[in-house]
């Protein structure tokens, strides 16, 4: 689960990492009130779960409360990479002498947390990694050893930070960020930029924060931060129904059982010359109700022109899937063409059930590739 900047900063502040004071605003009026409370110049920042908001005009300096209201009016409703701005973070403006970068990420390959620190902050870290690899200090923590101060020293010396005051503050921030990373079950905690003010104070000016969905059950305060309204309507419906669903750009609705097979189904549709409308995983179980729910999600997308149902039965039983499809057709009166390919456990029985009912818009194909070709054909 990705958090907004201000939510991540709340968690930073809770961990003792210095951040600027700010207020949440969802209307220009609230932005004005926030700026009044804070006093002086403020920054009005779009809260969106995507990058590049600065370039898109989503971050603006405001001299006073009236200006904050005006800037809020400009930013609210902006579409930034498909994300519409509904929330603003109004924050006391900072004087910035230097911009650093600090993150702890979950390194899947090494199976260890990875620290990264560089004095080249404020830009995309991938760019730094590519263009100035020597400027980027990287170090793994050992999950059993936990944080040790030497790790922070290696990062600080490695990044070439030599001001003793900065060293001391950043050492403390790294220690707190590690604690925060572990305690919140984070997959990513990033501070970019980590600024140094002209007075030498070090502070987190932005946050990027991702929490492990599987661990949310023990962080109810973080789970509550989810902005349900911001999700794509289909994805929101899918979440309610407990279906794994990712919206894509094309016309062929895709439903598979298991993440790998579903991904593969998306590929095969592309190989067959089509454009997938979504990725939808029925999961390992896949009973009749699951099929109904998944079809409901997929058909709620107006872009979908045909549905490709790709099932390889294991735990999932072909007869159950067939019954689910028939039940869905009955309940929802789907008129879109549905192409189905059924293999594995009880596949024969499933195909028999479908052949018997023989709904007019249902096409049964023997292989993945043939089914994909048929679905693509039917979508055009």
């Amino acid at each position: 689960m990705d958090l907004y900047e201000y939510q991540g900063k709340q968690l930073f502040a809770h961990a003792g990492i210095p951040v600027s004071e700010g207020r949440l605003a969802t209307t220009p009026d609230e932005a004005r009130a926030a700026a009044e409370e804070l006093g002086g110049a403020v920054v009005v920042k779009a809260q969106v779960l995507t990058g590049g908001r600065g370039k898109a005009g989503g971050v603006k300096l405001a001299d006073d409360a009236a200006d904050a209201e005006a800037k809020a009016r400009e930013i609210l409703g902006l579409d930034i990479n498909g994300h519409v701005v509904r929330r603003l973070w109004v924050e006391r403006a900072s004087d910035i002498a230097k911009e650093y970068y600090l993150s702890i990420t979950f390194d899947r390959g090494a199976k260890k947390p990875l620290y990264m620190l560089t004095t080249e902050g404020g830009v995309e870290i991938e760019q730094v990694a590519e263009e100035q690899p020597d400027a980027l200090a990287r170090l793994h923590a050992d999950p059993l050893e936990g944080f040790q101060p030497y790790q922070a020293r290696r990062l600080i010396y490695g990044a070439g930070i030599d001001d003793p005051g900065e060293q001391k503050q950043i050492l403390a921030i790294i220690e707190k960020l590690y604690a925060c990373f572990v305690e919140t079950d984070a997959m990513l905690t990033e501070i970019n930029p980590l600024i140094v003010t002209p007075d030498g104070d070090v502070r987190a000016l932005d946050s990027k924060f991702t929490v492990d969905d599987s661990a949310l059950y023990r962080h109810p305060e973080i789970a509550e931060m989810r902005d349900v309204a911001a999700a794509d309507p289909q994805e929101q419906l899918a979440r309610e129904k407990g279906v794994t669903y990712v919206k894509l750009e094309g016309e062929v609705g895709i439903l598979g059982n298991g993440a790998g097979l579903s991904m593969s189904t998306v590929d095969v549709v592309v190989v067959a010359g089509g454009r997938p409308a979504n990725f939808c995983d029925l999961g390992g179980g896949g009973d009749a109700q699951g099929v109904v729910d998944a079809l409901e999600v997929i058909t709620s997308d107006d872009q979908v022109r045909s549905i490709f149902f790709n099932i390889f039965g294991g735990i999932t039983r072909g007869d159950e899937v067939a019954r689910g499809i028939l039940a869905a057709l009955e309940q929802m009166s789907i008129e879109l063409p549905i192409v189905i390919r059924l293999d594995g456990t009880n596949a024969d029985e499933g195909r028999r059930i479908l052949a018997e009912a023989a709904p007019p818009n249902l096409y049964v194909e023997p292989t993945m590739l043939e089914a994909a070709q048929r679905a693509v054909e039917l979508a055009s």
């Binding site: 260890k112 999950p143 990712v246 298991g258 993440a259 790998g260 991904m263 592309v270 995983d281």
Partner: protein, 292 residues
């Protein structure tokens, strides 16, 4: 021989009295696996169709000589179950449970590595050595005995490829589903290493997907350590960046983790990569045809 599970496997099922544990535990036994015990706290003395149930893994080990565990307990209790098994002296842990928090797996992985324990999963379909033992939820009837080692991050995709191989008359030494989570107990490399030294395995099929760099690492390992032919399939060529595709591991971040990059890395070390399950099965069949 086969790898990880075979005729010497003496299996304890943690969570045997739950509905999934019972269903698959019995299914594994019906296949021929020696399922010697179940563990459910508070249910010692009961049995599941003749399989004795114990309160603790330590008791199961002592009383039945269990050496392998199959874990079906819910995610919140799964870490505890893994530690319990390992500390009771179990050498092979196969964990089906999904949604174990990734940080817990980080610690478990570091802990059990130091003890020489083999772990498969979590969030995996298990391990099947056709004709010998099936530990997990893989539908064994799709597969036949043979000399192809199959290792995969994905369940149903593995079945699909196994199905295609079987239809081409090809069989498997062992099928290993390593799981799709960010941190799994065994990586591609661990399994490749075992297949390389398994005399029954003649050819290896690796089934990867987008996200992470496990396939790239596997490619480097193949180059330096694997003499047997390796073929691969990668799922997710059409996946957009930044979206999690079902598996927690299946996300493309930035410029890395794409299927194209993985394909390139594998092909660079001589591993043929199919872009559909059908294609990879055909490539395997071709390889066998030219060998004999």
């Amino acid at each position: 021989m086969a790898i990880i599970v075979d005729n010497d496997t003496r299996l304890v099922v943690q969570g045997l009295t739950g509905s999934e544990g019972r269903f698959h535990g019995l299914r594994n036994r019906n296949y021929g696996t020696q399922v010697v015990a179940g563990v459910t706290p508070g249910k010692a003395g009961q049995d599941v169709e003749g399989i004795p149930v114990f309160n603790m893994v330590a008791d199961a080990v002592q009383e039945t000589g269990a050496n392998t565990t199959l874990i079906f307990v819910p995610a919140r209790f799964a870490s505890d179950a893994i530690y319990e098994a390992v500390d009771a002296g179990i050498g092979t842990v196969i964990c089906i449970t999904e949604h174990i928090p990734a940080h817990e797996m980080l610690r478990i992985h570091a802990y059990i590595r130091g003890k020489g324990v083999t772990m498969i999963g979590p969030n995996c379909p298990g391990v099947l050595s056709p004709g010998k033992a099936n530990v997990g939820i893989i539908p064994a009837e799709i597969f036949s005995r043979g000399s192809i080692g199959l290792v995969s991050r994905s369940g149903t995709l593995t079945y699909q490829i196994g199905h295609e191989l079987t239809q081409l008359g090809l069989g498997n030494s062992t099928i290993v589903g390593i799981g799709g989570d960010p941190v799994v107990g065994s990586s591609f490399i661990d399994i490749l290493e075992r297949f390389e030294s398994d005399p029954e395995t003649e050819l290896i099929v690796l089934v990867g997907e987008i996200g992470g760099d496990e396939e790239e690492k596997a490619a480097r390992f193949v180059e330096s350590h694997v003499t047997k032919p390796v073929l691969a399939y990668i799922a997710g060529f059409s996946a957009p960046p930044g979206k999690t595709m079902g598996h927690a591991g299946a996300i493309i971040s930035g410029s890395s983790g794409t299927a194209a990059a993985k394909k390139e890395a594998l092909e660079a070390v001589g591993v043929q990569v199919g872009t559909t399950p059908t294609e990879v099965a055909q490539l395997v069949a071709d390889r066998y045809a030219t060998r004999t």
